[in-house]
């Protein structure tokens, strides 16, 4: 149960940073930002900055992890110590352990892992600055980094969180809205497949609100995946011209 920390929706219906309820923060996406990784991407949702890198398919360090009929995914969601308001200890928190699982499970449905039995595909998500929406920005960055690494995918995924503040559903909640809000609904999915691959709800929503929030999230996800494709196309065309 979260306490309201003051009015977060103005009389004009705008949010504390001036956005409309259904407005996403400025989004930046860049791929191929690292030289060692097989694929990499930086994604920014406003001040939230997330870097993702992919290695693989490769042999996992412990061979007992192998599966005979598919590649395993190994995913780590991790926050830089300087990414949060108070310094975060570098040891993985329980929250990071859960989010690593949730992000892995958001990627499993789209990675065509059957093509690479007995290998591991490693996805490392580093939150460099956290201002809300890090798990959904993380899924988005991971999707780009997987594509950049040339890992065959059924579809691209992206994510966004819808919140409820002062009774109003708002898209892409930032930290202020998240900590003061009544609900937080992070969603990720693959619009080209019509599939939700990440779905969590913290807080209370009526069934109607849930439907509206899911609508709002889905439109944003469709838009984010469009941007992913554009970024990848620009890179791909750049390569083909070279």
């Amino acid at each position: 149960m979260k306490a309201a920390h003051g009015r977060l929706i103005s009389e004009e219906g705008l949010r504390h940073d001036g956005r409309r309820p259904d407005e996403h923060r400025p989004v930046k996406m860049e791929v191929g930002v690292l030289s060692n990784a097989d694929g990499s991407a930086m994604v920014e949702f406003g001040r939230t900055k997330v870097l993702a890198a992919v290695y693989g398919p490769r042999e996992p360090p412990q061979r007992f992890m192998l599966l005979p009929d598919r590649a395993i995914l190994r995913v780590r969601y991790h926050m830089a110590p300087f990414s949060t308001s108070d310094r975060k200890s570098p040891a993985p928190s329980r929250r990071e352990v859960e989010l690593s699982k949730v992000i892995r499970e958001a990627l499993e449905p789209v990675v065509i892992s059957e093509l690479y039995p007995r290998t591991a595909i490693d996805v490392f998500v580093e939150v460099l600055q956290a201002d809300g929406g890090t798990r959904t920005a993380g899924v988005t960055a991971a999707s780009l980094a997987l594509a950049d690494a040339g890992i065959p995918m059924r579809a691209l995924v992206a994510g966004v969180a819808v919140g409820k503040v002062d009774g109003v559903l708002v898209l892409d909640v930032d930290e202020v809205e998240d900590s003061a809000g009544e609900a937080d609904l992070p969603v990720a999915g693959a619009p080209d497949l019509g599939l939700i691959t990440l779905l969590q709800l913290n807080g209370v929503l009526s069934e109607e609100e849930f439907e509206q929030a899911l609508d709002m999230a889905w439109r944003a996800i469709e838009d984010l995946v469009r941007q992913e494709k554009e970024v990848l196309r620009r890179k791909y065309q750049g390569v083909s011209r070279a």
């Binding site: 149960m1 979260k2 007992f64 992890m65 192998l66 599966l67 598919r70 395993i72 995914l73 190994r74 995913v75 780590r76 329980r94 929250r95 352990v97 859960e98 690593s100 699982k101 949730v102 992000i103 892995r104 499970e105 499993e108 449905p109 892992s113 609900a183 609904l185 999915g189 693959a190 497949l193 019509g194 599939l195 939700i196 691959t197 990440l198 779905l199 969590q200 709800l201 913290n202 807080g203 209370v204 929503l205 009526s206 069934e207 849930f210 439907e211 899911l214 889905w218």
Partner: protein, 284 residues
């Protein structure tokens, strides 16, 4: 680092198809129930007399014990006027050949965090009533979930056990001594029940092939593509969701899963109510 599970029970392909075919017909592997009905469930309160509260839940073959312990501690800096509630889960190795001794893995952590959020978001325990001295001393309430037998659907059984143990818990007697310290004395009668404002249950809905079914048993869970954990409070509100597992769902499936969860929830609330009532009748 989260890794694709690589040490799973092997379920033969034929068996998998049989399970799915049954659900398609509105039946279940145990031959006793339909997709909207949980397994038989019992809730026993006060099984650990030395804990502030405790419960043993049996849901089919699944057994989960929950214990509540209370200590006096400091509040979090940003909530000086609230007690502290902490949920912790252990998948002890006697519960399943799949569990190894060691610190909680991602499954145990996810489970504890889902139960924790379900309780917290809806204010199930009124933490504002657990302040001894504002900003300095509050009650720290530990809910420890102990998985004793893993017969599938640990989420629902654990949530029930946690809720039941909290309903069973009594605040221990305490005194402030001259130095300002607060001393708990469990030899004296407890001060009363925990302030429980809401009851919450989760209903887990498994997607097996194209079909949905609540409260999967171990075998069903092993063949399920994905599960949606739906937390509902006694006011009928959705107070939490967690997609868990490697598969995906459509929006339509999410909607149907929530409807199934609503249908099944009263079974869990009833088990809670019966335990609470019989416990009162015992005077315990």
């Amino acid at each position: 680092m989260s890794v694709t599970p690589f040490r799973l029970p092997v379920i033969a392909k034929l068996r998998r198809e049989a399970i799915e075919a049954l659900i398609a017909k509105g039946l279940r592997v145990d031959g006793k129930r339909d997709p909207a009905t949980p397994r038989s469930v019992t809730v026993e309160l006060g099984v650990i007399e030395r804990a502030e509260g405790s419960a043993l839940v049996k849901l089919g073959n699944t057994q989960v014990m929950a214990g509540v312990k209370m200590d006096v501690g400091a509040p979090f800096r940003d909530t000086p006027d609230q007690g502290v509630l902490t949920v912790h889960a252990e998948f002890v190795p006697l519960a399943s050949p799949l569990f190894e001794p060691g610190p909680p893995d991602e499954n145990a952590i996810e489970l504890a965090r889902v139960v924790d959020r379900s309780l917290r978001e809806v204010g199930a325990v009124d933490l504002g009533e657990l302040v001894i001295r504002s900003g300095e001393k509050v009650w720290v309430v530990w809910v420890d979930l102990y998985i004793l037998d893993h017969g599938g659907n640990l989420f629902d059984a654990s949530m029930l056990a946690a809720m039941a143990a909290l309903l069973n818990a009594r605040i221990p007697y305490y005194e402030e001594i001259e130095t300002g310290e607060v001393v708990v004395d469990r030899s004296k009668p407890p001060l009363g029940a925990l302030p429980i404002r809401r009851r919450v249950v989760t209903v887990t809905v498994a997607k097996i092939g194209r079909h949905l079914a609540v409260d999967p048993d171990f075998e069903e869970e092993s063949v399920a593509d994905v599960r949606l954990v739906v937390a509902l409070d006694d006011g009928g509100r959705i107070v939490g969701l967690q997609k868990s597992g490697e598969g995906a769902i459509t929006r339509e499936e999410a909607r149907r899963a929530i409807a199934l969860a609503r249908q099944a929830a009263p079974v869990y609330f009833k088990a809670l109510e019966e335990a609470a009532t019989s416990s009162k009748a015992d005077g315990s």
